[in-house]
Symmetry: C2
Subunit: 269 residues, 2 copies
């Protein structure tokens, strides 16, 4: 059985199919009228309506209403299931050991049960992450400031980790905090705490630079008050620069180096 699709099944039919599908660790899509109850870190109740329930082979469970990006209720991977027919309803209970969280979905009508054995070994690549921004600055420190020299990345302090620690062209110790989106007050406070932590370690003068595409309004006054600096830097531009750099390096390998080195270069994330 690669796929099983039941249109408007009876609750008995649905029950059997769902039970088997979960036992065989398939991907289940169930559409129907249901209520949802959750008890765990919080509690929630959802009165009747038509929704889509997804149960994945890894135990992830999602209930999607016909609107919104986010599921209205869910259970993360690793859930344990119990399926029952009670009082003319198909109950699916997803239990999570951690936190003793329980999600109970009760269908009184099922429009579809579809069960699939999906094979997905595709590779996923994401560009223009904060990590890409950091790499771009390390490859080309002038992106941050002319004369900037990185010393260390992810330096632990206090605790917490400084994205990039370096010195400016005057030799002044400089803490760099990177954000891939508009920096808000929280980001400023984060940078401030790193600078303060470092001040406790040394008497050298220390600059704090926040590198991000933009700075929220309320964050601007904070920056000034805390004597920190802002450097506009977009994740897209960083990703482009990285790609160009790596492209160049790849070309160098192709022209000069042997097979093994080319593979190494090609396997970079």
């Amino acid at each position: 059985m690669r796929q099983l699709v039941l249109e408007k099944p009876s609750l008995d039919e649905a029950y059997e199919a769902v039970r088997n599908g979960i036992a065989q660790r398939r991907m289940l899509l169930i559409v129907g009228n249901c209520t949802v109850d959750y008890v765990g870190r919080a509690s929630s109740k959802l009165s009747p309506g038509e929704r889509v329930l997804i149960i994945k082979p890894d135990g992830s469970t999602l209930i999607h209403r016909p609107r919104d990006y986010a599921p209205v209720n869910w259970q993360p991977p690793g859930s344990i299931f119990k399926t029952r027919l009670v009082d003319g309803c198909l109950h699916i209970r997803a239990y999570r050991r951690k936190g003793g969280e329980v999600l109970d979905i009760a269908f009184d009508r099922v429009a579809l049960v579809a069960i699939f054995h999906l094979i997905d070994d595709g590779e996923f690549y994401l560009y223009a992450s904060e990590e890409d921004m950091k790499q771009a600055i390390l490859h080309d420190p002038s992106l941050l400031e002319e004369g900037f020299k990185p010393i260390e990345t992810e330096k632990p302090v206090e605790p917490g980790f400084i994205d990039i620690l370096g010195v400016d062209k005057e030799g002044v110790l400089t803490v760099v905090e990177i954000k891939r989106r508009a920096a808000d007050r929280a980001a400023v406070l984060q940078l401030k705490s790193y600078v303060d932590a470092l001040r406790a370690e040394t008497r050298r003068r220390i600059r704090g630079i926040l590198a991000a595409p933009s700075l929220a309004k309320g964050a601007q006054s904070l920056m000034a008050a805390l004597d920190l600096e802002f450097k506009p830097l977009s994740p897209r531009r960083c990703a482009d620069i990285l790609r160009a750099r790596r492209g160049r390096r790849l070309t160098e390998y192709l022209n000069v180096k042997g097979e093994k080195r080319r593979e190494e270069s090609g396997s970079q994330p």
Copy 2:
């Protein structure tokens, strides 16, 4: 047409069904082998594999692999769609005005197209939120501390909003920051910035209290260093207390007051 289900349709059949389903603002479930490309705030590429695509009436778009809670790619509500048959593939493009984000899904094989007109007017209630914790403290200030008296909630400062501002039994101004889960360094810094902002407004002595179920280790040293205080408080307990309080009040209404007041009480979230 309330529902249309196509098992293993040809790409032509799938194309027609998807086109119509999107035009009629239905809920679409499409299962098949696909690649996914995203360009927007970041960029991503996903090589071929079998996945579930959900398109909602509001334009929300989700691509789910057979694992993980989160979709591998998505588009938030409001997307605009373009469906095409190109080079033997069914392309579905979800375009988002904001940020010019583009999500392109290309199926070379479709296992299922299921289209539904879902009606969901159910109401969703969540208990034990941070808001519930705040209400519980306002109803019973001794939850925070014996003799505590709330003065104001969501007081704006600097900017930012103080969850609860009050005075302790000695009359000392007290800033309360509430977290529904273990308070981390960011929460401590948030409280600190509120206390500092308030200090700029008055010369009175000010206490800062962080009310949360627990305090992360790294946050403890920060609390001490910044002269702030921690009060253990669980969202569950607050929700229980709130429920009891409201239950009691409801009972009072039922026993004493007329129809109109009962309705008001009953309509509380």
